[in-house]
């Protein structure tokens, strides 16, 4: 599927734009954004950590929505349901990647800033749980035989999605070691000169994540279609053999 040249061109164009936006974001974050007063250059990791954390809380919602769509279409329209399932796989895997980067960059920041790599703070713990939940989602997909996997995984996805709002609200509800919210009504706010770096990086990494999800989605669709073709061939072959 999707072998049409237009889509392919769009993908290349998207990739080129993504790289351009990321380069601008890098320049903004590393060279143009003002140095933070107390933390110095260490604060620049913020532009990567926060963008990945934000997107890592958005992609699981795509996974949840796709899973619910799968459950809705499962009996009504199986072909559409397969598409939704492919989207769910793609977004779950990219979620694991983004949340993983969030955890890793947070630890890189935590060692110099707090003196420890890891602490069992509310935000860190709920983020780690989110990561573990989506890993168990992928494990479930590996473990159960192909026919029922999508349904079982879709159900698990709904259970996992409960952690997303908890993770999001954790710094509001429990004020522990993780820095308090920066944006929003209760946030401390940032220097207006830091905004371009945040926004360019957010846009760039969002485009990158969307591209990864799209590519993974196409791969999964091809796998599904190949599976269907193989099943069809097997049925045809069994019809031709004399009984």
């Amino acid at each position: 599927m999707d072998r049409s040249p237009i889509l392919r061109k769009i993908a290349w164009l998207w990739l080129a734009t993504t790289i351009a936006v990321l380069v601008v974001g890098f320049r903004q974050a590393i060279f143009f954004a003002p140095t933070e007063a107390t933390m110095g250059n260490l604060q620049r990791i913020f532009y990567y950590h926060v963008t990945h954390a934000t997107l890592g809380l958005v992609f699981p919602y795509i996974n949840c929505a796709a899973s619910l769509a799968f459950l809705y279409w499962r009996r009504r329209d199986p072909l559409k349901a397969l598409t939704a399932d492919a989207l769910a796989v793609a977004s779950a895997e990219v979620t694991v990647l983004y949340v993983g980067i969030t955890l890793a960059s947070g630890m890189l920041w935590g060692k110099p800033a707090w003196g420890i790599w890891w602490t069992w703070d509310a935000r860190l713990t709920s983020e780690l749980i989110l990561w573990l939940l989506y890993i168990s989602y992928i494990m479930l997909r590996r473990f159960s035989p192909s026919g029922q996997t999508p349904t079982l995984a879709a159900v698990l996805s709904v259970f996992a999605a409960i952690d997303i709002p908890i993770d999001f609200m954790s710094i509001e509800w429990w004020r522990t070691q993780h820095p308090a919210p920066v944006f929003g009504p209760n946030g401390g706010g940032i220097d207006p000169h830091m905004w371009p770096a945040v926004l360019w990086n957010l846009a760039g990494w969002m485009m990158w994540g969307v591209l990864l999800i799209a590519l993974r989605f196409v791969i999964e669709r091809r796998r599904q279609i190949a599976e269907q073709d193989a099943a069809l061939l097997a049925i045809e072959a069994s019809l031709e053999t004399p009984q």
Binding site: S126, I129, S144, T151, A154
Partner: protein, 229 residues
Amino acid sequence: MKYFGYVLEHLRKDLRLEWRSRDAINGMLFFVLLVVVVFSIAFDPAGYPTVTRQISGGILWVGLLFASMTALNQSWAREQRNQVLEAQRMAPSPASALFLGKALANMIFVLIVEAVLAPIFVVFFNLHVLGNAWLLALILPLGTWALVVNGTFFAALGLRARNRELLLPLILLPLSLPSLLMMVQATTGVLTSDLDHIQIRTWITQLAGFDVIYTTICILFFETALNAE
């Protein structure tokens, strides 16, 4: 009212099956006993009463979590013999009644284990409770339900999976982590009386919220998980 009739019927069936074999309860009891012995050897609780009080809540719940996992893996296996599960899928009663009956039965098994275990635990760990002991009567059932409701659900979900003995802990442990945190904090707070009223009440309320949320989702999605094909 009819719905509760179905739930009770399933519950009665599970209790009778367990009464005849006593596999699950005996297995869990021995398992938790072993865990308690292993931990008492590892930490020498008689020597350090304060440390013991601080860690015993965690040890109790981790032991119960592992023990209930061993039983939960088995709890659907008896339904698979003679295609009983297929018959139940075709039965006119709602699937969630089957789930609730099974979860309640598992809950009763774990509560029995807790009741037998509690005195042994107190003796081995040389405990005496400093806080409001009656709060444990609230924390233990709420915590047990939090473990059992998701455990029963995902044991059913893993029924048709390859190596399901491994799959259940892989899914159940991450899901149970928040509830485990809440029950351990509440239990330790009661045992050591380090936490004040409001903090303990917050943990218990959160635990109850966890129970309500996951019970609702389990009931809503059980039919899908059972009939997945």
